[in-house]
Symmetry: C2
Subunit: 180 residues, 2 copies
DNA sequence: ACCGTTCTTGACCGCTCGGTCAAGTTCTTC
DNA sequence: GAAGAACTTGACCGAGCGGTCAAGAACGGT
């Protein structure tokens, strides 16, 4: 499954054939169809696995931090770190969102992640520390920044995760203009 | 080309065959290969066209606004409006970034857009109105927010472009915490 | 009226794909 | 050590792909 993930990420899902995967693994085609119902099912499995991993990582990072704003920050940093260590999977997640067939699975996972962040945002609003805008839109904004910066600077330009995470946190919390 | 764009967006690039496109258009296959060298070339043409369109729209919106911060805001609103009117193309741009073959074309267009935004950000920093962080990272952050919110709320949830643009601008300029 | 260029057709080609399956091998259990 | 379950193989299949091309229609200049 790890090998298939890298092949899919390098070549694209459709251009990568089952034959190519099993050949690279040095096994017969039959063994593939013994463990997976189809090529599509394998891909869905990879997707679900990735979402579980990311979620666990985020939860572990946030642990029992009481400050909601700090929880958001820790979530951003944890996501960025996971994106850094799973470049191939990130590419697959991005591709999956462009195919009608895979979008539903993706959507479910994303909704969970957003709901988590939105909870912290709501708390922040109640405490009067976050401006009173739609928490779901704000959560998605945070998600958008984190994902895009990770892809652009950590993956494409190999910049340090910590540096990029630092700017991402600064941008999400205080925007371009800064707060003082 | 418009028809091919919607087919690619609905079905995905690879699953959509040339036969399907020409049949939907009610023409023979030969006429396709008279105007385009290959399926790939058609796709690249769509990509380049989209980037040109978006750029023109942004430039028109910014026109000769003197305030750099306001230029950024106008750029966000213009992008959001274009994303709203070109859902299919947006999906294609997103797909293209996951295929090694199309990434270079995309990259060039994005770099131009980012360089534009970065210019305004730099001006803002010089004027002391934008915090002193890497202008390129900040520009990408803005781009990430705008794209993600457009896809999520304008495309998927059919919310009003103006409302989403409003929050996007607020988030980009002042972040979650707000500045006062 | 004629001819060369431009444009259009769809049957056709070679190839590769996802998936099947009869056959064989290895592991587990008693 | 026999028997059956679990696993593995790769040749094979029908389907569909991107792309070609001989044939001809439409058009424009003279």
């Amino acid at each position: 499954m790890a090998y298939a993930t890298t092949r899919f990420a390098e070549n694209g899902y459709h251009p990568t054939s089952v034959a190519e995967i099993v050949q690279g693994l040095g096994v017969g085609k039959g063994v593939f169809y013994w463990y997976f119902a189809s090529k599509e099912e394998l891909f869905l499995e990879i997707l679900r696995d990735a979402q579980r991993q990311l979620r666990r990582r985020q939860e572990a990072a946030i642990a029992d931090e009481p400050d909601p704003v700090r929880r958001i920050e820790l979530g951003i940093r944890a996501s960025m770190a996971w994106f850094d260590g799973n470049r191939a999977v990130v590419k697959l997640l991005q591709f999956a969102s462009t195919e009608e067939r895979f979008a539903p699975v993706l959507r479910r996972g994303q909704d969970v992640a957003v709901a988590d962040t939105a909870r912290h945002v709501k708390e922040g609003i109640v405490e009067g520390r976050i401006r009173d805008l739609d928490p779901f839109v704000l959560s998605h904004a945070v998600l958008g920044v984190t994902g895009h910066l990770a892809r652009e600077f950590v993956h494409e330009r190999s910049q340090s995760v910590e540096d990029v995470a630092e700017v991402a946190v600064a941008f999400c919390l205080e925007g371009l203009l800064g707060a003082q």
